[in-house]
């Protein structure tokens, strides 16, 4: 189907006040969360939002801290849009969409200060824990960002720090949990005509007039914002979208353990 054709039906429905799967504008699709699904990872989660599926694996390694934060652990977030997930993804290094998604999820985690990186120091200036968060897209039916961010925080909450014996990491034996003190939640809000909606599915994403990604912390502080999509948006609409995101983030957070 040509680019312009995809989403036509979704658009028609939205203009009549409905969505393809009979959801309300402020409803998410069914969310399924599974923890600790990857045995070799120090932490992991699989999240399905409708048919969109993302797996996040957290691996811990030791390494050198950055020179400007010699006693803090390091966070690295990467995303792979593997071709298996969609005919639109190509093999090879991450394209701009994968890079953007990884960086938005990264900022949600990093700016919220949800990981107490100060507690990840092993030897100051020499050795710290490096937390690798790898996002693997398994199926793209829209709203990869919320699914990835959700899977990331669930995986981190269930990550355990391995033991170190004689300067070597002992995989499979754990010392303690990764110190995570907040649950930042990412909500993408879209606008079509005069309607605001959350959790746009694959077809809806193609016809959004505007899109805003908001990351909110437990204490209602906004940690990250990113306007996405091709069109301009009024300041008033941005304010409305932030309000909706903050409201939905509270509901979503209840699912995160």
């Amino acid at each position: 189907m040509g680019e312009k054709m995809e989403g036509q039906y979704a658009l028609e429905l939205i203009m009549k006040g409905k969505r393809v799967d009979e959801r309300n504008f402020e409803d998410f699709r069914e969310i399924k969360i599974e923890k600790n699904i990857i045995s070799k990872a120090e932490g992991s989660a699989r999240v399905k939002i409708g048919e969109t599926e993302v797996i996040v694996g957290v691996k811990l390694n030791t390494g050198e801290p950055f020179s400007d934060t010699p006693e803090e652990g390091v966070l690295i977030v990467n995303a792979e849009f593997t071709p298996l997930a969609s005919p639109d993804f190509e093999s090879g290094p991450p394209g701009e969409d994968a890079v953007e998604l990884a960086r938005i999820v990264d900022r949600g985690i990093r700016e919220s200060k949800c990981i107490e990186v100060g507690k990840l120091c092993i030897v100051p200036e020499e050795k710290v824990w490096m937390v690798f968060v790898d996002i693997h897209i398994i199926n793209d039916q829209g709203n990869l960002l919320d699914a990835a961010a959700l899977a990331a925080i669930v995986a981190l909450l269930n990550t355990k720090i391995p033991k170190i014996k004689d300067e070597e990491i002992v995989r499979g034996e754990y010392e303690k949990d990764l110190p995570v003190v907040f649950k930042p939640i990412n909500i993408v809000v879209g606008k079509v005509g005069n309607n605001f909606l959350v959790d746009p599915n694959f077809e809806e994403e193609k016809i959004l007039d505007a899109k805003l990604s908001v990351s909110v912390r437990d204490d209602d502080k906004i940690c990250a914002l990113q306007k996405q999509g091709k069109n301009e948006v009024s300041m008033e609409d941005l304010e409305k979208m932030v309000d909706i995101a903050m409201k939905k983030s509270k509901e979503m957070r209840k699912l995160v353990k």
Binding site: T69, E100, R103, L225, K227, K230, S234, V242
Partner: protein, 236 residues
Amino acid sequence: MTKTEEKMIVNGKRIDGRKPDELRKIEMKVGVISRATGSAHVSFGNTVALASVHGPRELFPRWMQESESGIFRCRYNMAPFSVEDRKSPAPDRRSVELSKVIRLAIEPALFLEEFPKATIDAFVEVIQADGSTRVAGINATSLALAHAGIPMKDLIVACSVGKIDGTLIVDLNGKEDNNSECDMAVAMMPRKEKITLLQMDGVITRKEFSELLNLAKENCKKIYELQKKALKEKFG
């Protein structure tokens, strides 16, 4: 750049002597690269960005052509010598993301349907980085496009705002960028006050978001006057 323990605002003044709502010295010049269809040089204090536009030109490979409208491509890059620790010339993830974000910040202003099968290519080079580089890049690209005679609905204006030591500030320099509680980049089409870029990281309340957005709007208006001056000066 390293984080610092020092206070960023002392006696109501920022580390470079500015007031919280004061912009740095801004210089804008159009037509600086003769081989480009359009070009501009924009500096905010020590941050210097160059932008050049080539096109509209025929797009190759042909399979990339859109038969009904032109495309706009944008590449943001930081020169290796632009920062304190030499940056590798290879595009890094930040440059990849910013290339996308800047492209989307500008596209809404272009009449791409007037150039089917063609492409307009914009290149942004940051040659000196001291905070707010994407903002300088967007302002420069907008000027370069106008200089190139590309039809636009409006210019695109951008500015950065943020929060430091609890105070809301405008136009963050490099040190402030690294030590702020929040830094937010906004780009807009000034006539109708429509936002085309919004990126924020930090920790702010809902109310602070509104305040920052308005602060950005006010300053974008000031920067727009400077863009106007730079363009009219070139041709007036």
